[in-house]
């Protein structure tokens, strides 16, 4: 009951702060709270990595200037989780999408069916992105999560993205904390990919060293659809990534590429479930960790009995630059089908001293030699990116972050 009391108290505060509230979302949230209470033990277990955080925040007095990278893209701003309607592009806030007839069916079906109930407990607002059948979105869609520290840290942004049959879209997610405090970004994205659709999704977490991130993404793929998820984590106090991909149909391709260059705390939890035959998946996470970094990789590939001729690959490679870094890597494979090709592996180690000596013997200073080797280590992740400007941006960020703290 204590938990329920705190939620009720929070709603009162929310009303005082005049945060727009949607009845539909409110009902879903109430149902979710009931469900949460019923399965409390299980939920608590699953949330073992969640952080202890204060529920409310005070209004801030100063905010920082916003510096943005230039992309030729459709840009969406979510300021403190609230998206403001823009008539130029067909993107709606999630709450508005519930009332629009042309979207209602899709939203109802997808939201009710797929949105995890536990995530609805703290749902606030988000965007609804619907790519119609056969639509090829030329420019990438850039989603910018901006936090001013004005509103509560408790609620999370929930996005619902639906790709129609044969549609193609590229999405970039960026995070900016304009407050001077320890801000938290809680994002949940649900992506439903219809047959023959294509998704390129790039998530870049490179905010202030005091920012916290909790990113939960769930992707459901239908026949012959293909998704490439690129996740970059460069700066933050604590980053927690949950990524689940469910291959519902036949001949689906799913690729996850992750790169972390950090001195803080990070958890990657990835799950790829092969449900139908002839699916392919590739899950590659690379990490470069320095100082007191503490990292966990939990990667799981499940191949169900019906998923014959599956080809799945999972790998986690980590370079430690300090003796105080902790790495826990748990690559897991659960195979219930026959006639599959599956492999997984994990590497944790330091840079090869022979390689450093080789570069130094050619006149390259030690720090530059280490930087060069680390950039080379992360290079194959860059090759998966979908356009040059993004490659340049990531490459710049790698060069900036990869410099070892000693030498």
């Amino acid at each position: 009951m204590e938990f329920k009391k705190s939620i009720v108290y929070f709603y009162t505060v929310q009303k005082q702060l005049q945060i727009p509230l949607n009845r539909y979302v409110y009902n879903i949230r109430c149902n979710a709270i009931d469900l949460f209470e019923k399965n409390k033990k299980q939920e608590v277990k699953n949330y073992k990595y969640d952080l202890n955080y204060t529920l409310f925040t005070s209004r801030i007095k100063r905010i920082r200037k916003l510096h943005l990278e230039y992309f030729d893209s459709f840009r969406i701003f979510l300021i403190d989780s609230i998206y403001h309607y823009d008539s130029k592009i067909s993107i709606r806030s999630l709450s508005k999408a519930f009332y629009l007839k042309e979207y209602a069916l899709n939203v109802d079906v997808s939201y009710e069916k797929f949105l995890s109930k536990k995530r609805a407990v703290f749902s606030q607002e988000g965007i609804f992105l619907y790519i119609t059948d056969g639509m090829f979105v030329k420019k990438p869609i850039e989603i910018l999560y901006i936090s001013t520290g004005t509103f509560s840290k408790m609620f999370r942004t929930i996005n619902l993205i639906i790709l129609g049959k044969g549609s193609c879209v590229k999405i970039i997610e960026l995070y900016k904390n304009l407050s001077l405090g320890k801000e938290k970004f809680f994002i949940s994205s649900e992506v439903y990919m219809n047959a023959y659709s294509y998704l390129d999704y790039c998530k870049i977490k490179d905010d202030r060293p005091t920012s916290y991130f909790l990113d939960h993404s769930c992707i459901l793929q239908e026949d012959r659809s293909e998704c490439n998820i690129n996740s970059f984590s460069f700066c933050g106090k604590s980053i927690i990534n949950f990524l689940s991909i469910y291959q519902l149909g036949m001949e689906i391709h799913s690729h996850i590429n992750g790169l972390s260059i950090l001195k803080g705390h990070i958890i990657h939890n990835s799950l790829i479930e092969h449900i139908s035959a002839n699916g392919k998946s590739r899950d590659v996470y690379k990490g470069i960790f320095d100082k007191m970094a503490d990292t966990t990789f939990n990667g799981k590939i499940i191949v169900l009995k019906s998923a014959k001729k599956t080809n799945a690959f999972q790998k986690s490679s980590n370079i430690l630059l300090s003796s105080e870094v902790k790495v826990n890597a748990n690559p897991q494979l659960e195979i219930f089908a026959e006639d599959v090709v599956c492999s997984h592996g994990c590497i944790v180690g330091q840079l090869n001293p022979q390689e450093i000596f080789y570069l130094r013997s050619r006149g390259i200073p030690k720090a530059d030699a280490i930087t060069k080797l680390l950039v080379a280590f992360s290079k194959d992740i860059l090759e998966c990116l979908f356009f040059q400007r993004l490659k340049n941006l990531i490459s710049k960020k790698i060069n900036k972050n990869v410099i070892p703290s000693r030498n």
Binding site: L359, S361, G363, I364
Partner: protein, 250 residues
Amino acid sequence: MLQIENLHVSIEEKPLLKGINLHIKIGETHAIMGPNGSGKSTLSSVIAGKKEYKVNTGTIFFEGEDIIHLSPEARAHLGIFLSFQYPVEIPGVSVVNFIRTSINALRKARGLEDMPRHDMMKTIRKKLDLFGMDRNFLSRPLNVGFSGGEKKRNEIFQMALVNPKLSILDESDSGLDIDALRVISQGINAFKSKKNALLIITHYYRILKYIIPDFVHVLFSGKMVKSGGKKLALDIEKNGYSWIKQFNGI
């Protein structure tokens, strides 16, 4: 140019070099021969500045400067080049990128600005043609998937571009067929001049057929047991290293 006096080197308390003396003058070519495990590669690594080895006593002077406490890159800046016996593979770094970084780092140490990209490519292509190498070679990741011959050729190619004062060629002939050996030797001979010096480390006489040494030294159990002219290499080829054992009463 290079003066090594009474050099004693060990690794984890195990002595590897026991009192090496070696004097190389500018314009000279020296060859060090010896059986496996005699300390040839250790000597080359110590000259190049590998820190895993502990120098117990002795001195290494290069152009009058004591280099024993210098870093590998500082030695490279002075003009020492080591051609590796087993060049390391570095995926993600292309040959051209590596060479460009190396040349610019050496120029920076001399107080020069980075070489313009156009001039750099012109120089690289010129040398590439000299070694009869394919231009696609430049875009390949450094030593990844290279055959033994390609790796060794790449080392000599780098040497020609960097233009060092002292080149140490650590078993540059091992793993090469006759044709590849001839190509590499031609490259080395084209590079050789009165302004630089070569130290060739090898097991066999065959590379010395193409690159005529001024002096041949025999290294055995960490000691320089015999020195002589080119004829010494021929004698070893004829009689084997056991001949040196008997000769020195080891």
